[in-house]
């Protein structure tokens, strides 16, 4: 009797929450999965909008093999990896530094935090304009103004080192995000453990290395996970900043897909590029998630 009553109670408790979320779940499926299924459908067909007379025909995996063998797409895949991995590491280091500094502030912390966080709130397409036009421009940019003041020769990063310019733009925008996450981590470090370590004679570096850093590992992982998912398909800095760069030096997969779609109107190939981007993102996310999960379950 007791068992039946309990399970009926449990069912009643679960029931509303199950079917109350159903509309939202249906909406999510329609809005995110249906377009994805359509993309998969297009990616195994050949369809060029410039030639409506050509038949819309099934071509299996040939769009995918084109992308992994074509030298321009290969460069795009390499650049995608570089433009995701390097900013992930750099934003972690810079974000950690900023979080440590902000954590120590007692006076003016709110102001410092708001100012430091503001790059993250700028639109992805305004970010490159600030860098390309205001700072990196070889004629009237602030960087060359500062360099010539100190007697150094002017540089043109966008022409000579375009990848570095793109990485700077991405890192500038995403370091505040890591700072946000790591600051949350720093503020939950157990003060008693730190004090105990201090009493035992540990200096501040050892306290940092053995208590704070291990505590921050799950925060770093979560931050990198989110960054990997959101930075991998980066488009704004490349489209506005370098338009794929001199030659194809800063073309990444997303930009290649954009150009295939809008310049060559090859729908099937562009869809295949989109699917490959999604696969890359999913692989990175699963690897990082597997790393993070033990910490999340422990908490």
């Amino acid at each position: 009797m007791v068992d039946v009553a309990m399970s009926a109670e449990r069912l009643n408790r679960l029931g509303p929450s199950r079917w109350a979320t159903l509309p939202a779940v249906c909406y999510l499926i329609v809005v995110t999965q249906l377009p994805f299924v359509a993309t998969i459908y297009f990616s195994v067909h050949s369809w060029n909008l410039l030639y409506p007379a050509r038949p819309f025909r099934f071509v299996g995996l040939s769009n995918f093999t084109f992308i992994v063998t074509d030298p321009i797409f290969r460069t795009a895949i390499e650049n995608t990896i570089v433009f995701t991995a390097v900013p992930a590491v750099l934003t972690m280091l810079i974000g950690l530094g900023l979080a440590l500094l902000v954590n120590r502030l007692t006076f003016g912390r709110g102001l410092a935090y708001s100012l430091l966080f503001s790059p993250f709130l700028i639109m992805e397409t305004v970010n490159p304009i600030i860098w390309k036009t205001m700072i990196l421009n070889p004629i009237y940019g602030l960087l060359n103004f500062a360099l010539t003041r100190f007697g150094l020769p002017p540089v043109d990063l966008i022409a000579t080192a375009p990848r570095i310019a793109i990485i700077i733009m991405i890192v500038w925008q995403w370091s505040p995000f890591m700072m946000l996450i790591l600051l949350a981590g720093l503020q939950t470090v157990s003060q008693e453990t730190l004090e105990a370590a201090q009493i035992d004679g540990a200096n501040s570096w050892n306290q940092f290395r053995h208590i704070t850093l291990p505590h921050l590992v799950p925060y770093v992982s979560v931050g990198m996970l989110i960054e990997a998912i959101l930075i991998l398909p980066v488009f704004g800095p490349i489209y506005v900043g370098t338009y794929g760069g001199p030659g194809n030096q800063t073309t990444n997969l997303m930009f290649s897909v954009y150009k295939t779609l809008t310049e060559q109107y090859e729908i099937g190939r562009a869809a295949a590029g989109g699917i490959i981007t999604a696969i890359m993102t999913t692989v990175v996310a699963l690897v990082l998630l597997a790393y993070v999960r033990p910490y999340m379950e422990r908490n």
Partner: protein, 283 residues
């Protein structure tokens, strides 16, 4: 500056005025990889007597004539033009000119009105105008590009859309612009009647030469030699974007200094041949 200069004249003047230490550059030239902004280079190339295709639709990108034009463009840019050209498209060039950093700029006629507006240009009133330079071929030395209005054949409101199109290109609209924004901001390329308005001719000293440039531009004769294609800023075939995009990227790489001229021409020729063969123009 003669009313119809040659590119030799332009080079002479630009290199004389060029003063990089004062941030004054003889000529502002585009070097951006975006193929849609390639029109100044394309007309430069055509005015030098080169062409995209011969009568058999074979790409002519690695011919000596094309290379001569390409090298001339890059040399002029590197010796008497602005640095950082790989970031310079129309808007950036307009910024440089209107802030007084450039002496010469060869680009769309619409820029005349923008540079003459004292609200956004520091050099308003100090600009003179000439026809597009040539270098042995008047054909193809200027382009005709238009921003047009179209109505989708699947639209359910076609007559309403047509009414809008009629209004937007009407004399009444011109009157409205003249009244609210001033005669200088009248769109220069919509109606011939604009050029008979006394207030426009008075406010826009460039009006007669813009009209002559528009009327002289001939899309059907893009090159000195007979060619199978029409179109000056772009080539009127659907495959244009495919090889022009690759050309734009290589062109920008040469200006950035990361690719040699020969390598860029070889690659662009190869991709043009590939696209044209796949499209069936050449066997």
């Amino acid at each position: 500056m003669p009313a119809a200069p040659t590119w030799d004249d332009i080079k002479k003047f630009a290199c004389k005025i060029n003063n990089p230490s004062e941030h004054i550059y003889g000529i502002i030239m585009k070097g951006i990889p975006d193929y849609g902004q390639l029109a100044p280079f394309i007309t430069f190339m055509h005015s030098y007597g080169a062409k995209w295709f011969n009568m058999k639709w074979q790409p002519q990108i690695d011919t000596p004539a094309f290379k001569k034009a390409f090298v001339a463009y890059v040399d002029l840019l590197k010796s008497c033009g602005e640095p950082g050209a790989t970031s310079v498209g129309f808007n950036e060039a307009l910024t440089l000119m209107s802030s007084g950093h450039g002496a010469i700029w060869v680009d769309a006629t619409v820029a005349a009105g923008m540079l003459a507006d004292p609200k956004s240009s520091k050099v308003a009133g100090k600009i003179g105008y000439a026809l597009a330079p040539t270098e042995g071929s008047k054909n193809g030395s200027s382009w005709l590009y238009t921003w047009a209005l179209g109505i989708l054949s699947t639209s359910l409101h076609q007559s309403d859309a047509f009414q809008f199109v009629q209004w937007a290109t009407s004399k009444e609209y011109i009157d409205l612009v003249a009244k609210t924004e001033g005669p200088l901001h009248i769109p220069p390329g919509t109606r011939i009647s604009t050029y008979q308005r006394a207030d426009y001719v008075k406010a826009a000293p460039f009006a007669p030469i813009v009209l002559k440039a528009i009327q002289d531009a001939d899309l059907t004769k893009p090159a000195k030699d007979p060619v199978p294609y029409t179109g000056t800023a772009q080539v009127n075939i659907p495959e244009y974007a495919a090889w022009a995009a690759d050309f734009g990227q290589n062109f920008s790489a040469v200006i950035a200094g990361s690719m040699s001229v020969d390598e860029a021409l070889k690659r662009s020729q190869a991709s043009a041949v590939r696209v044209m063969t796949a499209a069936g123009y050449i066997k």
